[in-house]
Symmetry: C2
Subunit: 197 residues, 2 copies
């Protein structure tokens, strides 16, 4: 009989994913050990394996979780918010600047994972590629919307601009890891802004 009874979980799946995400985000896939995931989540090994499968499966769920809980609200929702599309782009830039300068900034989990796993795990690479596409898409439609409102140079290729912005953000996430310098970040953000003129 399916769906019947059994001892209920003693943990909140979302909260566990949050903690696991924090570790993977900071250290990457390989450098994160199961023991570390145990202590970070407070779960025992078998609970982890029972609930999420092996390390790789857990990592996949963490990537999805990251997109839902970090990128969707922090970027996509910001861009798609009603009102001035240009203002939304500016809000995204500001948010990039702030997060990049935060003391505990770990880059972008998607970008980090692409660097680490992009060439050796085609399945995960496919997932990551789709995440990039979703970000590009969000940027693209916002650029278009801003163009329609006369807030961004209408002569620009919206898709090309979106791709340049995505690339800039990913580059910033990398470079800032070793030079957390406010002037540097502002220079890059200014350049991103200039891409809209």
């Amino acid at each position: 009989m399916p769906g019947v009874a059994g001892r209920p979980r003693g943990f909140d799946e979302q909260e566990v994913l949050n903690r696991a995400m924090a570790v993977f985000w900071q250290k990457g896939f390989d450098a994160t050990g199961i023991a570390e995931l145990e202590s970070a989540t407070g779960l025992g090994r078998q609970s982890l394996y029972g609930a999420f499968g092996d390390k790789r499966a857990l990592f996949s769920k963490v990537v999805e979780h990251y997109f839902e809980r970090v990128v969707e609200p922090g970027l996509v929702a910001v861009l798609d918010a009603p009102g001035s599309a240009r203002a939304n782009l500016e809000r995204a830039f500001t948010s990039w600047e702030e997060t990049a300068l935060a003391r505990d900034f770990n880059g972008c989990l998607v970008g980090n994972s692409v660097s680490e796993l992009g060439l050796r795990d085609p399945e995960i690479a496919g997932v990551l590629q789709r995440k990039f596409q979703l970000m590009e898409e969000a940027l693209c439609r916002t650029v278009r919307r801003a163009q329609a409102a006369g807030e961004v140079n209408a002569k620009l290729d919206a898709r090309a601009t979106a791709r340049a912005l995505l690339t800039t953000a990913q580059g910033l996430a990398v470079v800032v890891r070793v030079s957390r310098d406010r002037a540097f970040v502002q220079n890059v953000i200014s350049a991103a802004r200039r891409l809209l003129d």
Copy 2:
């Protein structure tokens, strides 16, 4: 008596560094095992340890080697070549486009290493940061030179522009790992070019 005699090396150090570089470049530090370095270089373990120290020390030497043999000739020398600075920047863009689209493109070893080790190995992070600075510097002086020649908008902040270009190149190296798409790369390069106008 120091500096006397002993059996001479049976291998060429530069060639060994080339092979080791290829492996580290493709797979990263953690994912590269000593066994793999042995078979890639053709050296036995003790020869490797005797000549280069432990894995981390070898990796450091590989990073230096990468800069000397890849970045210096492929970027710095191109930018510092005599003649039109703007043309040199264009040559760099073309080279980015070509290498990014090559079948065996593995990103930038410096950028990859920053992602993997930037937060956990301060010493290596410092070295990587200096490499970024050298690239920024080369871009910066070339932008300035082009400005002086009237080939690039003289109103631009040369340093800010150099930083944006560096960031763009690093971002491209990441993004292209999962979407090796000619149009995408051209869009990004066009945006980089627009940063000079």
